[in-house]
């Protein structure tokens, strides 16, 4: 059954005990992400220092897939150059399109390749990533709002 490919143990472990929730001591970029079709929601806070992700907080609520993806991303982002994080996210999105696990992706992210069998859930699996990209954009060009 396809469900086994979707709800892998690693994913469920992230869902039950998500990482990356702790507030940062300093924040220099923020973004809010919302999936209007299901109500999943994320707040991403970034601390960027010398072009690198020095800290990330990915806090939100929603389905197991969205929350696991956010948790996994928070684990791999810290220490990466901003450009490299952008590349990781691009490769991750590519993996969800192709369905082939990308073993070059850091941490637990390759496990989410099974989501590709559930096209309606791809938005869930990418919300944390698109919100993080928006936070990066806000860092590069601070929110004028």
């Amino acid at each position: 059954m396809n469900l086994d490919a979707l709800y892998r143990e690693v994913i469920m472990a992230h869902h039950q005990n998500p990482h990356g929730r702790a507030p940062l001591d300093e924040v220099n970029a923020h973004a809010h992400g919302y999936n209007a079709s299901c109500g999943d929601e994320f707040d991403v806070n970034l601390k960027v220092e010398d072009g690198k992700i020095a800290g990330i907080q990915i806090d939100g609520h929603g389905c197991a897939i969205s929350q696991a993806a956010g948790s996994m991303l928070s684990q791999v982002a810290v220490g990466l150059k901003v450009e490299l994080l952008e590349e990781v996210i691009a490769a991750y999105r590519e993996m969800l399109k192709s369905g082939e696990p990308d073993s070059n992706l850091p941490g637990d992210l390759p496990v989410l390749s099974g989501v590709s069998k559930f096209p309606v859930r791809i938005k869930c699996a990418t919300l944390a990533m698109t919100t993080t990209l928006e936070a990066i954009l806000n860092f590069k060009a601070p929110e004028s709002k």
């Binding site: 059954m1 396809n2 469900l3 979707l6 709800y7 143990e9 469920m12 472990a13 869902h15 039950q16 209007a36 079709s37 299901c38 109500g39 999943d40 929601e41 609520h61 929603g62 389905c63 197991a64 897939i65 969205s66 559930f118 309606v120 859930r121 869930c124």
Partner: protein, 418 residues
Amino acid sequence: MNQALYMPERWDSDVIKRQFPTLSRQFAGKPLVYLDCAATSLRPESVINEGCNFCRLHDGNPHRGMHALSFEATEVYESSREAVAKWLDAPSASSVVITRNATSAINLVAGGLRGELVAGDNIVLSRMEHHANLIPWQQLAAQTGATLRFIELSDDGQLNVNDLPRLIDERTRVVAVTHVSNVLGTINPVRLIARAARRVGALSLVDSAQAVGHMPVSFRELEVDYLVFSAHKCYGPAGLGFLIGKMDSLERLSPVEYGGDMIEYVSFEEATWAEIPQRFEAGTANSQAVAAFPESIRFIESLGTDAIRAHEMHILSYALEKLQAIDGLKILGPTSPRLRGGLVAFTDQYVPPHDMSTILDEYGVAVRAGHHCAQPLHRHLGIPASTRASFGVYTTTEDIDALIDAIQQARQLFTRKY
């Protein structure tokens, strides 16, 4: 709870199911369990055939030609209007406006009233409205300077009608509420609300999208100024809806769409409007859908709306009992089936709605997950989303058993320690 109380005397589920071609499909190696009727109901074979038949043989453009096909198409189109008028107790065929869906019908009314409201006026809605009966009024308020007021909910998801005298005052111009909530299931006291509106000279609108085809509905008895519904939620084709109005209430609406067939005399500089209902029907309609809809009415009436309501209450009470027995699962809305339409939305302590829907789908059970086009209501209830099972004439207690089994599977997956 005495389930037999709600069981209609003669109800042959096998015969009914066989009329819906979609139900012959297999998912997960089992016949489809379709519990998403509130999003769109399935279409019986006869309705599908009637739409195809129109395309094959009568495919002219209604009201736009002197040739035989156009004449036939006009007859089909107008007889469909008459069938709706007769079915739902409208004052006349002319008081039935053919629209794209319930949403466009509400937009037609809200947009049509833009000249009637001024700053300081108010529009009364409820906390349980679908976006379709909220956003058009938000826009009208923004354009006119009117304010929005909301009828609050009781703890079990009923409208707080004791608040009506405070909310509806001499500056109220419109009161618009849903007939049956698409999330809470609540059946609202529409006539009482319509009377409260009329007492201060305000117009009233009811969104009957979740009521028509599921229970007896009479425009006359509801005493509202406007009633809207969509064909695709009552065993009819998509892309078709209706606005029924009292003639003098329809006269107060300015057209919101302009163009072909809604006019009388046109010069390069200006135009005059056609009579009602054509005034509100600019452009060529979905004539195939219009032609098919009388078959939906025939199908519904072959069972009878009283019997359909009894059947849905039977299914609903069975579902409520089974769902209530699951610890940690919370049902939204009133707990008595008598107060509800045939749908039940719930949240689960362990399984988020989107995951619930995916897992149920893998077991061949189609439900809806999300905010069901009612974001503010969900936020008001303090939940991001819910899972909804909704019922129709084809729903059986076996379908509910399949739902419960699949929920238990989802539970197992999510309560394990990882």
